[in-house]
């Protein structure tokens, strides 16, 4: 099947074409869309490109003046660039007449314009660029000869809003180029069928799901995974893994190139600092995460490929398929959060398919030991997490509809049919589609006062067109669904003092990277924090840039642990619960951890895999309630908020709560054990599912997290613009406006489509309501309550989180109230702050009156 030049090229390299690479060629010859699932090192990318390279090198084909033939789409800019680098080898070595270019947000405007008028044969790009190209009037012309689209890292892209937008754009590409064939490349996943359906148009009746062909590359050698065990006991709580730095360093010394994976950017910074403190041999160790300046990241990537590094500390920015150098060890610090993530990350080690990869898991606290153990067993059993099937986001659809209107006037019927051919939108109701179009045009409000300002106008033939060309300009400035909390650029400046006031001059300086705006907000000039591998002192904010100077301090003031972005996966959580319940399995755990669990069995109880343990006990003048759902931090935080409201109504005077991936702990003034014993507090009623009704609704009215979710949907849908020509709106302004909009919509237009979109996001996103709902129904009749006299061993890690992780901004009014009373006391009593006892008495009195 493979043309002679290619056979010769493989031979010259000492390779032979793999079965799955040939299988893809066969599919392409038959114009059969296909999904290739292969572990890293299996030549996945080459497999994806072979059909296009073969087609473009066919002597019978005239490539002079031919347009765009193949699109390669990857979620990461770096990936696209890296692939291009790898592709240039076969193209130049075989002398193929193929022009291959990349196009990302960093590509200069002039080059991007030229790519639209004189495109290369192959374009390597990102989903956002596709959306932008499709919004230009010349899109039909640009894509008319498109033959193949290759979607890389599909497992990472598909189940997200970006994936939704890409699937809509794919549907449009198929309309413009009906012959189009799609090839998907993916790492191993639990349910490949969904990705197979993602790749092809869904045109049949609802029950039928059309699929691409599935090609499975033969599995590689099993990974060798071990969990780090030290003489020193694993800490009770925390996420820093500082206790294991020595051992991590020694592992780096013993290997050629080690990847040290962590879950968050902050962890990356801290581990990097610690490793350098321990770096007696002066080994070249680098840092790589998404907040760092692009130039810095490229330097690290190049050094890795050239074999000049011994270790790289990285977050998920390094997760995806980039293939650099000879990694022979992967260390995962902190729990991997999901079996699939673990396997994918381990796949990074040693990209030769036939040799087993080596991985070391370093749990940061005792619960993580359980999680790592469960992940290890899952990896060995070949289990995978399951991607939740999702229905397409409505805010994304709104952005897409506007983009299509920018391209050309459209017929609603035709656009609706095209949208429905995308898997995620295949069951979209016509009514919802019309509401989205209405939103794009007039904002979609129940009060119909904006018809005269409509952004879409009807042509005589029934098509809808843009009311004004300026709308297209605005669209292009704001398109793109990657919505993180707004980022602030960080510049390193030298301390220069000017004038009698001796203020620091804030200007100039090297760009270090970007940080969340919410992080900068909490800093006062003078605070020190860790970033880009250094201790920096915050000098001030100017023109939406944060200026910092180097600090001579050894340790930073601001700990700011970012709290993992990914909660423990459902699948792994079930394994952890099972592990906990199976006493015979404890002998595999490190001594101190097994002892800790035995102590728990003795002093309280170990829940069976089906039960949910709830403990109540007094400590230091407060009464605690601890529950262990193992449903992940997000669901637990939501549960904490709701339980707090309920406990308030039942007179338990809750004062606060803290949550992590394993459980949550509430505390208050009332004796909870006593309340339960006397029947005044019924735990089953407390945890009833109806919590997700009125209580949830009432809480949502003021919830910061819900407002944040709404803000994201509002920006994606295009209600609020991210950027205005000439006026760069800072994240702050958008936050304020959308909170006000949220309040007003809830009161006056509760059925509005943006609220619906935000609600759908909340169900699986920041509030994780779906998961919480499942927990509450699992809980029914399965509560195991232990009323204790002392802190339970199992609860210690959770309690240690108190004071470490502030609860997300809901406390506002309570804090203001407490502060106001303090001011009064100061005024009356001279200057003594209130004593604990007085504070309690006041809190109690207040709580009583509030009822």
């Amino acid at each position: 099947m493979l043309p002679a030049p290619f056979v010769r090229w493989f031979a010259a390299r000492g390779w032979s074409p793999r079965a799955h690479q040939l299988a893809l060629l066969d599919c392409a010859a038959a114009r059969q869309p296909a999904l290739l699932i292969a572990p890293t090192g299996a030549g996945k990318t080459l497999a994806g490109f072979l059909p296009s390279l073969v087609a473009l090198s066919d002597p019978a084909r005239s490539v002079e003046g031919a347009g765009l033939h193949t699109l390669y789409i990857s979620p990461l800019k770096a990936l696209a660039i890296d692939i291009a680098r790898n592709l240039s080898a076969p193209i130049s070595e075989m002398g193929l007449p193929v022009a291959c270019e990349t196009r990302t947000g960093d590509t200069p405007v002039s080059k991007r314009q030229r790519q639209r008028t004189r495109p290369p044969h192959m374009l390597l790009t990102t989903p956002e660029q596709i959306a932008l190209m499709l919004s230009h009037r010349d899109a039909g012309h640009l894509f008319r000869d498109l033959d193949t689209v290759i979607l890389d890292e599909l497992h990472a892209l598909a189940p997200s809003k970006r994936g939704d937008l890409l699937s809509l754009d794919l549907a449009r590409l198929r309309t413009l180029a009906p012959r189009l064939m799609s090839i998907g490349l993916s790492a191993t996943v639990g349910r490949p069928t969904e990705l197979c359906a993602y790749l092809v148009p869904q045109l049949g009746p609802d029950e039928r799901v059309d699929l691409a062909e599935l090609v499975l590359a033969g599995g590689g050698a099993k990974p060798k995974i071990s969990i780090l065990e030290l003489e020193e006991p694993v800490p009770w709580a925390g996420h820093s893994a500082r206790y294991a730095i020595g051992e991590i360093y020694r592992a780096i010394e013993r290997h050629r190139l080690t990847l040290v994976f962590v879950n968050t950017r902050m962890q990356a910074e801290l581990i990097f600092q610690e490793l350098w403190r321990a770096n007696e041999e002066g080994l070249p160790i680098a840092l790589h995460h998404g907040s760092l300046d692009v130039a810095q990241r490229r330097k690290v990537e190049a050094a890795m490929a050239a074999g000049r590094l011994r270790a790289v500390v990285a977050t998920s920015t390094l997760d995806l398929g980039i293939d650099w150098g000879d990694v022979d060890l992967v260390i995962h610090v902190g729990a991997p959060k999901g079996a699939s993530r673990l396997i994918q990350r381990i796949g990074r080690a040693n990209h030769r398919l036939d040799e087993p990869s080596e991985a070391l898991l370093v749990p940061a606290n005792r619960f993580e030991v359980l999680e790592c153990r469960a992940a290890l067993e899952a990896a060995e059993a070949g289990e995978q997490d399951v991607l939740l099937s999702r229905s397409g986001a409505l805010d994304v659809l709104a952005q897409h509809v506007l983009g299509m209107a920018c391209q050309a006037p459209f017929r609603p019927d035709e656009l609706f049919a095209e949208v429905r051919s995308a898997l995620a939108y295949s069951s979209l109701a016509r009514r919802d589609f019309d509401r989205v179009v209405d939103f794009v045009s007039t904002g979609g409000y129940a009060l119909k006062t904006y018809e005269r300002f409509a952004r879409l106008k009807a042509c005589e033939d029934g098509r809808l067109r843009l009311a004004h060309p300026s709308i297209a300009r605005q669209y292009r400035l704001n398109a793109g669904t990657i919505i993180d909390s707004p980022m602030i650029k960080v510049r390193l400046t030298r301390a220069r003092r000017a004038g009698p006031a001796a203020t620091l001059l804030l200007s100039g300086g090297r760009l270090l990277g970007e940080v969340d705006e919410s992080f900068i907000e909490q800093l006062t000039p003078g605070d020190t924090f860790v970033f880009a591998g250094e201790i920096l002192r915050f000098a001030g904010l100017k023109d939406t840039e944060a200026f910092v100077t180097r600090s001579p301090d050894r340790y930073a003031m601001i700990p700011s642990y970012e709290g993992g972005k990914f909660p423990l996966s459902t699948h792994l959580a079930a394994r952890v619960r099972a592990l906990l319940a199976d006493q015979s399995a404890w002998r595999h755990l490190p001594g101190p951890v097994a002892e800790w669990l035995s102590l728990q069995a003795e002093r309280s109880a170990i829940p069976t895999a089906d039960e949910v343990l709830i403990e109540t006990f007094p400590r230091a003048g407060r009464h605690f309630l601890v529950v262990y759902p193992f449903e992940g931090r997000l669901a637990h935080q939501t549960l904490g908020m709701l339980l707090t409201r309920r406990l308030e109504r039942r007179g338990a005077h809750p004062l606060g709560f803290v949550a992590n991936d394993y459980g949550l702990s509430l505390w208050g003034l009332a004796d909870l054990s006593e309340l339960v014993a006397s029947g005044k507090l019924d735990l089953a009623r407390l945890f009833e599912e109806d919590m997700l009704g009125d209580d949830l609704d009432a809480w949502l009215a003021g919830s910061t997290m819900m407002k944040r979710t709404f803000r994201a949907a509002a920006v994606i849908a295009g209600l609020i613009e991210r950027r205005h020509p000439g006026r760069e709106k800072s994240g702050r302004q958008i936050t304020m406006s959308t909170d006000l909009i949220y309040d007003v919509l809830r009161r006056h237009d509760p059925g509005h489509i943006l609220l619906q979109a935000a609600w759908a996001d909340a169900a699986t996103g920041l509030l994780d309501l779906t998961r919480l709902g499942r927990f509450l129904s699992r809980l029914k009749g399965r509560i195991r309550h232990q009323a204790l006299c002392h802190v339970s061993p199992l609860s210690v890690p959770i309690l240690l989180e108190i004071g470490r992780e502030p609860v997300a901004g809901e406390a506002g009014d309570r804090l203001l109230e407490a502060h106001a009373l303090d001011l009064v006391a100061e005024a009356l009593e001279g200057s003594e702050p209130q004593s604990e006892g007085k504070r309690n008495a006041r809190a109690q009195a207040r709580a009583t009156r509030r009822r």
Binding site: Y445, L740, V744, R747, E817, H819, L823, V824, R846
Partner: protein, 240 residues
């Protein structure tokens, strides 16, 4: 300016706070309105009615409910205090065409509020024609019992003034939590009201615009929380 009456705070009632300007007593309300019991005058500033439709006319489709929402809140606070006079301290309309875009219903609501009492519009930068369309009396400023009520505060450390225009907001840091809320800003001798309108944002009291007003004496703030009004020590104020 801020009279921290311990008995009042102990009562757990943060819906209202007493405050004084040049010896005159006022009540600050959680809605952002200011009531003058001795004169039975209720003051609100910066209603910015029809801001939603103003943006919509320019292609940003903000919800068209802001006028209704603002008037509803205004009605509630008028009910609470039953004033003989209502004074709107400027920028009552977001732009000069606002009155023509107002719905019949909202105009109706406004006339009902205006019946049975004096209604005074103090004009600001955006709404010079407000009176013609929306009833009431229009003045550029008003002096009552020695206090001058105007839209834009004089940029000099004067006294005896109550004004709006600046939309004061305060950013405070408490126990690691950062909050940013609209506020009353004053020093006992002059006062700036928070913006009352539903879609209005806020300018930090530490911003340069406030500097000429309060001089070296500094400013005291009363923060509008979700459920109450709270005094906050000035040392906790943060810049944006």
């Amino acid at each position: 300016m801020l009279e921290l009456k311990p008995e009042r705070l102990d009562a757990g009632d943060f819906n209202e706070q007493a405050l004084s300007v040049c010896g005159k007593s006022f009540i600050a309300d959680i809605s952002g309105a200011l009531y003058w019991p001795a004169e039975s005058v209720l003051m609100v500033a910066d209603l910015h009615l029809e801001k939603g439709s103003s943006f919509a006319a320019r292609g940003v489709m903000l919800p068209p409910y802001d006028t209704r929402e603002t008037l509803t809140r205004l009605a509630a606070v008028i009910d609470r205090f039953g004033p003989d006079t209502v004074v709107c301290l400027g920028d009552s309309l977001h732009d000069s065409n606002g009155a023509s875009r107002m719905s019949e219903e909202d105009r109706e609501t406004l006339s009902i509020l205006q019946a049975d009492r004096e209604w005074i519009w103090i004009t600001g930068n955006h709404d010079r024609d407000v009176g013609a369309a929306l009833g009431g009396h229009v003045v550029s400023e008003l002096t009552v019992e020695g206090l001058t009520l105007r839209h834009e505060p004089r940029a000099a450390p004067i006294t005896h003034e109550i004004a709006g225009h600046l939309h004061p907001a305060a950013k405070v840091s408490l126990h690691g939590h950062t909050l940013r809320r609209p506020c009353f800003a004053g020093n006992g001798r002059r006062l700036v009201l928070p913006a009352f309108g539903a879609f209005t944002g806020g300018l930090n009291v530490l911003d340069a615009a406030f500097m000429p007003l309060f001089g070296t004496g500094g400013v005291s703030v009363l923060l509008l929380g979700q459920e109450g009004l709270y005094p906050v020590a000035s040392r906790l104020l943060r810049e944006d």
